[in-house]
Symmetry: C2
Subunit: 275 residues, 2 copies
Amino acid sequence: MNKEDFFIKQFNKASKIIGDDGAVIDGFVYSNDAFFENIHFKKEWFSLKQIARKAMLVNISDAIAMNAKPKYALLTVAIPKEYSKKEIKELSLGFLEVAKEYDLEIIGGDTISNTKLDISITIISKTKKPKLRSGIKKDDYLCFTGTLGSCKKDLETLLNGGAISSSSKFIEPKLNAKFFYEVSKYINASMDISDGLFFELERMSKRSKKGFEFLYEIPKEVGCSGEEYELLFSFSPKYKEKIETIAKKYKVQLNIFAKAIDGKFKCDCKNHHFD
Amino acid sequence: MNKEDFFIKQFNKASKIIGDDGAVIDGFVYSNDAFFENIHFKKEWFSLKQIARKAMLVNISDAIAMNAKPKYALLTVAIPKEYSKKEIKELSLGFLEVAKEYDLEIIGGDTISNTKLDISITIISKTKKPKLRSGIKKDDYLCFTGTLGSCKKDLETLLNGGAISSSSKFIEPKLNAKFFYEVSKYINASMDISDGLFFELERMSKRSKKGFEFLYEIPKEVGCSGEEYELLFSFSPKYKEKIETIAKKYKVQLNIFAKAIDGKFKCDCKNHHFD
């Protein structure tokens, strides 16, 4: 067990709420994600605005994947001493832009000066029907949106000193909020793909106590690609057409790749963090 | 204006909720504070358990100062790679101990590996009658609890390589939750003293549009001492006796030090962060 999982395990005994993209309490979803320099990004790879935008979007992605609408955000932002006011303004603009796009309000947080740019965001969302990782039923189809693999490739390019397109999903995740809110009534379980499809499938397998029979082979370059922020969900085969119709409406690519069976799924990717 | 305040200012236009120890929405208070290595603490000064405890307590202090009961916490914890499992366990115990003492549940967060130990905590609290910084009325008494000044001295001792008592408030803040919940019905405005009495008075002055007539002189060693986590509040003189009775019951020292007047208060302390 890696040290992060070991740390999290210490808290599992004291709370049954831990274990999804966010914590569900009385119609609210609380999610929290860190976005730290040299852990999640290197500053040469992003503009400051792009950093702030991605930090917000990876958090909003959790809310969407649980069928919750983000309403409020709290930001911890640790800012390097040498940043100019112009740079600080650019950073704040990234947060504010995304807040506006998703109609959420930044209500507080903490700002400190630090050796590097480290961001932690808490998003407070509202939901009438939260979707969890634990809802997979036997014979459900497993499905992910979009295409997977480009983020792993783009990360490797960056690590080798190359350049990637500014429209790369690694720079800015593409979230399919409207699609998912509409489709959610047909969904049994869901989460976003932040650490890679196979990682997330192991998490869903544990929570839902199900295994997966793959309908086709998924290569490691695809299944182990992290930072994708595509949606991963399961549904009863009887809703396949309804879901496909909604996907077409929002131009969302669907990949039905497995069926839920009795059993367990184990991921054998390496941890995707580059540091 | 320092860079932290400049950053925060960018968000003030978009939200009227920013400006108190926590954000109040529909009976909930959301507060968020960072506790970063080499910014808020150096690891030679604290055990890992003490670090976790203080990170929790400084956040809970915000909730108490707003007359809110902490219910849930989300933790971002960035852990140095070299920490052993034993160390990680000790750290987690500190969080769990305080959660138990205050009857709150740690419901999620994010754990990452990092170059230093950086913690950010969001506390979700419930309140029926939140107390704000903006409530000071003319002729109110201004009061703080306990004694101020020892944290500045202890910090200086530590920075000079000396040792301080493990019962120092700098190591573990002493919160007066029960006292404040009982006294709160007589209180017009409140906050905790995290950055120093004079710093906080300037904040209250801005929010309440009041100045202060001091009843006695407060030296800079006292008024500029940060990390105290004592309570600062205002109340109508007619409740003086009632408040004193409750303070006696909980053995809380009261210091009525100023009267609210028309005007403005400006702090001239240096920023208390040591780095």
